[in-house]
């Protein structure tokens, strides 16, 4: 049985929960795997700390929480600071380089940054930063197949924004540091 545990963290309003929903859907509906997605948030609707987690498995997911992560996606400094300690040795950290500025020593992990929010703004809407990040994750962490992720995105966002979200996914997928 292979299992992958993903933690996504940021602020309320950034689409942290939607990202996990899309990821879980891509895995369980389009990649024929099993997945379980859970979320944690405070009473605030926006701005408060927010995290979501997905367990992707070749078999039924028994234990649904992420106490130790194989992949950590950080969309805020607070999310990075809180959850970096649960990232496993050899785990992959994906972070927004404009939102996570104070980096700790990254020993024994693979850290990859992307200006996800900035790229989203360049595409015309800051709100798709989470989708840019999912594109980046599909490429860099190979969490699920890009096709499954694209299908899950198309299925989960309002139809009139499908094209924008697809461009956001592609921007994240194609991003490499040398572009900077």
């Amino acid at each position: 049985m292979s299992e992958l545990r993903v933690k996504i963290s940021g602020f309320g309003g950034q689409g942290i929960i939607l990202s996990a929903f899309i990821l879980g859907k891509a895995a369980s509906i389009y990649d024929q795997q099993h997945s379980s997605m859970t979320q944690a948030y405070g009473p605030e609707a926006r701005g408060g700390a927010c995290s979501s987690q997905v367990v992707i498995s070749s078999d039924n997911v028994e234990y649904p929480l992420v106490d130790t992560a194989d992949v950590l996606i950080a969309m805020s400094q607070e999310g990075y600071d809180t959850f970096l300690p649960i990232l496993k040795k050899g785990g992959i950290l994906l972070y927004d380089i404009d939102l996570v500025e104070k980096l700790q020593c990254h020993k024994d992990i693979i850290a990859k940054g992307i200006p996800a929010t900035r790229l989203a703004e360049e595409l015309g809407k800051k709100i798709v930063a989470n989708i840019v990040m999912l594109g980046f994750a599909a490429k860099q962490a190979k969490i699920v197949s890009p096709k499954a992720m694209q299908e899950a995105i198309a299925d989960s966002v309002p139809r009139k924004f499908t094209e924008l979200n697809m461009r956001a996914f592609q921007a994240g997928y194609d991003y490499n540091k040398e572009q900077e």
Binding site: F21, K25, H34, P43, Y63
Partner: protein
Amino acid sequence: MFQKSRLHGEFFMQGDIACAEGALAAGCRFFGGYPITPASEIAERMAYRLPLLQGVFIQYEDEIASMAGILGASWAGVKSMTATSGPGISLMTENIGLGMMMEAPCVVVNVQRGGPSTGLPTSWAQSDMMQARWGSHGDYGSISLVPNSPQEFFDLTVTAFNFSEKYRLPVFIMADALVGHMTEKVVIPPVEELEIINRKYTNKKTEDYLPYDYGKDLIPDFAKAGDGYRYHTTGLTHDKRGYPDMTFECQNELVPRLVNKIKNHIDDISLTEEYDIEGADVIVISYGITSRTVLPAITMAKKKGIKVGYLRLKTVWPFPEEKIRKLSEKVAGFVVPEMNLGQISLEVERCAHNDSIVKLVPHPGGAIHKFEDVLHAIEEVAHGK
């Protein structure tokens, strides 16, 4: 995304949404409620879906009225439901008692959060388990089903409606915030593949019908509203006509019947999942989300050579007394991890044989059990402590 019919197929679906879809699949066409985290998504989904299915959604002024509303709908012949969390259940409790006395089929969902009072709005617990059994005053039998996944939240909602229709009472679904807000694959079968039970209507002539007359199964038959039958119901102790009769004789016929109509059918109502029970030294008894969070500890205990069995209660009420009694004769003891400070463990203690150990692993809610705590308890029981 939304369709004008019942859904079927595979979905990546949140537990709360799956509950709403289970209700619709079971034939629920009335929802009365008041939003509360972590149960609001059930109301939200029902508000959208019910009108598409010619059903009715009402957001009431509070939970007291919501519960009264679903009793009224039930009495008019419609399958009805409400969904709330602990603080809402506290308000509904008076009318839940009325539902027990009237024998009104309906489903009450409690997506449990931490308490007491407003407690932990966005986090989970399992601390309303005794409230579900004993919340309202007076004696009555009750049914509580506890799901541990979105799929099971769908499945058990269908079952809850079936039990409520069959045994004529408000049935509780005791979910929790973690299962309610968890999203997993949910397979919804075509409606013709689901077993749906509807309330039994009388075939007596209007002049022969008594609303609270009953047969061997202790469950009265309904009469359809508008078909010309005389009907009377009340929260007071009542005779077979449904008229108040506050004599000892009447009380002694009615109240034991309310208890026994559930007790006598425990084999039908009691749903469990078990494995490795045969030859086990220690049995871990769990329910709801805890049945999943304890799995790593069980796996670890097995690696250490301890014979651990797993018993999960999908039906917590009525409590499987006989089952626990029999199992207790063969094992060193039970470990009962639950997200409260000791509720169902008391029931296990009550039923377990004197020589067997019952060890509670308490948790106040808001997080999950530490794996070491559960493992430690298993080890202690295995070593006869």
